[in-house]
Symmetry: C2
Subunit: 311 residues, 2 copies
Amino acid sequence: MAEYIFGIDVGGTTVKLGLFDIEGTVLDKWEIVTRKDNGGELVLPDIAESVKAKMAEKNIAADAVAGAGIGVPGPVDGNGVVHKAVNLGWGEKNVAGELSALLGGMKVMAGNDANVAALGEQWKGGGQGCDSIVMVTLGTGVGGGIIIDGKIVCGSTGAAGEIGHIHVQDGEPEACGCGNHGCLEQYASATGIVRLANRALAASDKDSVLRTGEVSAKTVFDAVKDGDVLACEIADSFGKYLGDGLACIAGVVNPDAFVIGGGVSKAGQVVLDYIEKYYTTNVFHGSRGVAFKLATLGNDAGIYGSAKMVI
Amino acid sequence: MAEYIFGIDVGGTTVKLGLFDIEGTVLDKWEIVTRKDNGGELVLPDIAESVKAKMAEKNIAADAVAGAGIGVPGPVDGNGVVHKAVNLGWGEKNVAGELSALLGGMKVMAGNDANVAALGEQWKGGGQGCDSIVMVTLGTGVGGGIIIDGKIVCGSTGAAGEIGHIHVQDGEPEACGCGNHGCLEQYASATGIVRLANRALAASDKDSVLRTGEVSAKTVFDAVKDGDVLACEIADSFGKYLGDGLACIAGVVNPDAFVIGGGVSKAGQVVLDYIEKYYTTNVFHGSRGVAFKLATLGNDAGIYGSAKMVI
């Protein structure tokens, strides 16, 4: 009788691993270094050794393990094949198949890391109790993951949930990291908020605490909480871009909830308030009741979601 | 052994019905009038009588029928309950349950008509061979349906695929039928194209064949084919709104294909060309290869998709 699941989240620096019971309670968490030498050929063997060592340490037999899930930073298709994971040095790689072979045929499910984190939040985080969520991660970029009826939407080429690259602004002179101009993440990520702030500071002569210190997503929202007028205008601009973008997404998949995570979300409810203001204005009435929630699992979302893929 | 399926598409004027074999070949098609008296209480009984009459006519036993699918004009949840179908006079109604009871316990699946038509096009129409499509119907309004891995995405309140009401333009003075301002269907539907044309004609003093006759989506695209410069500008504006909108949708669900149907699509490949021009400019590179196809089933898409729901 299978009692255990391993959840694995591969990052460019460390691999996070978790041992879960079948209900999704985390029993142990640990990390190993991501060794990227020689095109990342050691990553999966290192993971397999670590899983086997944990099984030996806890005296867990192979038939007591339901399987392992693994999230990787790249597009993954429905067969568990990653098509390119630049940060690991991988080209096309059958992650699920190779890790399974290294683990003596254990069931292994693989997914894109952002999608897997979304699944984790839907299962045990901010989206708990919702069948369908859209996870929005506001960090250096804007990441996303679409969960419908408890399952990840991968897309035909693994590019579903790439909501940071929705085009929201014509005429943007600066290029996004993807090469396009006017992508959502150019305005709604932590770096996007700094862009909006610098432009607002340059275009206005209003007094603001932001003129005297570091400009970051955190200092902008701190200033908003202190009633700084220019900071509120910057947050309003952020909310317009992201609220309109999420209204568009709701018109496509009409989720139960949006779950907002990443560094920017640490400012808390005020972030949701600015998003919802514009979301509500422009969304189709059938999606007006979609809930907005903050993510709760932080960096553990990936190991939770990886484990959930196995069930 | 079940050999037959009924596909039913309920419209405000007529109900279309089809008898299919289990492979999806249509064996017979017919229509009945939609009797909307007394809050539409006769609609389902009329359908049940028509199905039973067809079974008697063709000498089909109950156990030879795999089931019936039914598409209705309103939001339908995952349990086959419609929440409001204004055109039929229905409030909340368990369509699947009631029709099943009227048909002696036959398996009945119900869905929203636009979503069901999308499923039909994915199964036997323009999207054949694709697991995941977004159907875009350019008629009086802009309708949509999202099919992922061969299944309809309903959304939490049945409002998935409402892509006509994605907000694409700030500052639009005219209201959309939904009450919002600046919805995609205000520019990309047949009536939206007329709006764009009338505005272009008023704002320009360019000569155009459109100044001399009726302005419609058809006359605009006919003029485009004749090289009318102003008509090409109007088509370009249409393509910009719709291409950007579909690029956004691809960022969410990354389908295999967009299938374009409805009256506007009768102009053919030229419509796809104007959409793809802007789609390709602004879409995330991972979705650049999504195919654009014309719908092929016309008004039969609904009966095909209804039948497919049963399988």
